[in-house]
């Protein structure tokens, strides 16, 4: 019988939640790296027992931790993230230019085929790659040449927070940066272009359809259809059918199209999930009702999923990296809140239950199915 591991990064450490395929009884391991802010933990698809974690603090900087036994033991590996060449400046909140400065790793994305190869998205926004299991890191600097001087920080900092690797084409990589936009490389990261045509940010940008500057909160695709991308932007849920070249809005009947995470069902490429948040200043669910919204039509037509979720007085946020899906036949959906709950559904979102209720603020949720 397979095992399910949910990797949870929190404000004060990492946690590993383990269950069998039923996903009813959960074992909680942690806190790992106690006291560190774990922005992300992720497993290698090529070796399920190879895990990576990215703990950091404002005091002591960045550490990368690696496990080869499914998270039982960890060892610190390389943490030297040095930008390649002249870094120059990017736009600051007030429009002045500001030096590029490394703060932390936001996201780790292991290769689908090689457990020693992984990418790291960092703040200030840049993409790094390691081919030796995280021991050394090299920047792919061409990304910053995609009008990097016009990028600006969002409220959380100027972070590269999402890396999507096309599972069928190792040369194709997508990244998302707040507040810069979405970018695509078709040559393994040697060159990049913004893929933002169709995005509109009329309340955030002086030029609502600018090529860069959009606050993209997350992007997702289904591995069987890598040209179809879904995006939760600051405001607006968007879709592209041509690998990001053009986007159109699919917010439809959502109660709010502001939000952070977006996910695609493991077996139904047209089934997608978002968690609406009231507004950019009111980071909690509309009406205090925690609702996951599911579209089975690739957007536009949405249904509220509420069974097992609090439907009154819920005022937590769900951060951009804090939702994931598993690959079991009955697809599991997981998300974590800033209030420290991790909710799971073992039936595509129809029913929910909390796995844990009192963790520190949840920064990220990932899930893996272990044979």
């Amino acid at each position: 019988m397979s095992k399910v591991r949910v990797l949870v990064g929190t404000k004060k450490g990492g946690f590993i939640l383990t269950s069998d395929e039923e996903r009813k009884q959960w074992d909680v391991q942690g806190p790992l790296f106690a006291g560190w802010e774990v922005y992300h933990m992720q497993a290698s698809p090529a070796n399920p027992d190879r895990l990576y974690a990215a703990p950091s603090t404002g005091w002591f900087g960045q550490v990368i931790q690696r496990s080869d036994d499914g998270g039982k033991t960890w060892e610190p590996v390389g943490n030297e993230f040095v930008y390649d060449g002249e870094t120059g400046t990017h736009q600051w909140y007030d429009g002045t230019q500001h030096p590029w400065d490394f703060t932390r790793v936001w996201v780790l994305e292991p290769s689908p085929s090689d457990p020693d190869t992984l990418f790291a998205g960092v703040e200030d926004a840049a993409l790094f790659k390691s081919t030796d299991g995280g021991t050394t890191w090299q920047e792919l600097p061409a990304l910053r040449e995609a009008k990097g001087h016009l990028w600006q920080p969002g409220a959380g900092g100027m972070c590269l927070h999402k890396i999507v690797l096309d599972p069928g084409n190792p040369d194709r990589i997508f990244t998302a940066i707040s507040a810069a936009g979405a970018f695509r490389s078709d040559d393994g990261g040697q060159s990049w272009k913004p893929v933002t045509n169709g995005l509109k940010s009329e309340w955030e940008l002086p030029d609502a359809t600018a090529e860069v500057g959009h606050c993209v909160h997350n992007i997702a695709l289904h591995p069987s259809r890598p040209d179809v991308l879904y995006m939760q932007k600051h405001w607006d849920v968007m879709r592209s059918d041509d690998a990001g070249d053009n986007w159109y809005e699919v917010s439809g009947n959502l109660p709010s199209d502001f939000g952070f995470p977006i996910a695609v069902h493991a077996h139904e490429p047209e089934t997608i999930y978002v968690i609406p948040i009231k507004s950019d200043s009111e980071h909690y669910p509309p009406e205090g009702k925690l609702r996951v919204y599911r579209s089975r039509t690739g957007g536009n037509e949405w249904e509220a999923l509420t069974n097992g979720l609090p439907q009154e007085n819920c005022f937590h946020n769900i951060l951009r990296t804090a939702m994931a899906v598993d690959t079991l036949d009955s697809c599991g959906i997981y998300f974590g809140t800033t209030g420290g709950q991790v909710y799971a559904s073992a039936d595509s979102g129809d029913h929910w239950m909390p796995i844990v209720s009192d963790l520190p603020k949840v920064l990220s949720v990932e899930v893996q199915v272990v044979p």
């Binding site: 005091w59 002591f60 900087g61 550490v63 943490n79 040095v82």
Partner: protein
């Protein structure tokens, strides 16, 4: 023998104890002490000072006999109480809440 007290995050990260003992050649300085700490405990590289510039991280402070050495040039000789092991060099994460 030089005694160094590490902040909790760092001695746990290094897999050691709160207080460590190290040896440096010649007259001890902050720079030599940090070089030796990083050589003996590689996971601490980048956590006390920058990998490349070797500048102290902003929220790290150094104290000797209750005095703040955080802003002393790194090649300043450390006092005899440190060189002799009579007192420890304290590496402290700045009080900043959280």
């Amino acid at each position: 023998m030089i005694r160094v007290i590490l902040p909790t995050h760092l001695w746990r990260l290094a897999g050691t104890q709160r207080e460590i003992e190290i040896e440096v050649a010649g007259t001890p300085t902050l720079e030599k002490v940090l070089d030796e700490i990083e050589a003996r405990y590689p996971p601490l590289k980048g956590t006390i000072r920058d990998h490349v510039t070797k500048e102290r991280r902003a929220f790290i402070r150094f104290f000797i006999s209750g005095e703040d050495w955080s802003h002393e040039p790194p090649d300043t000789p450390l006092p005899e109480v440190i060189a002799s092991g009579q007192e420890p060099l304290r590496i402290i994460g700045a009080l900043a809440g959280g």
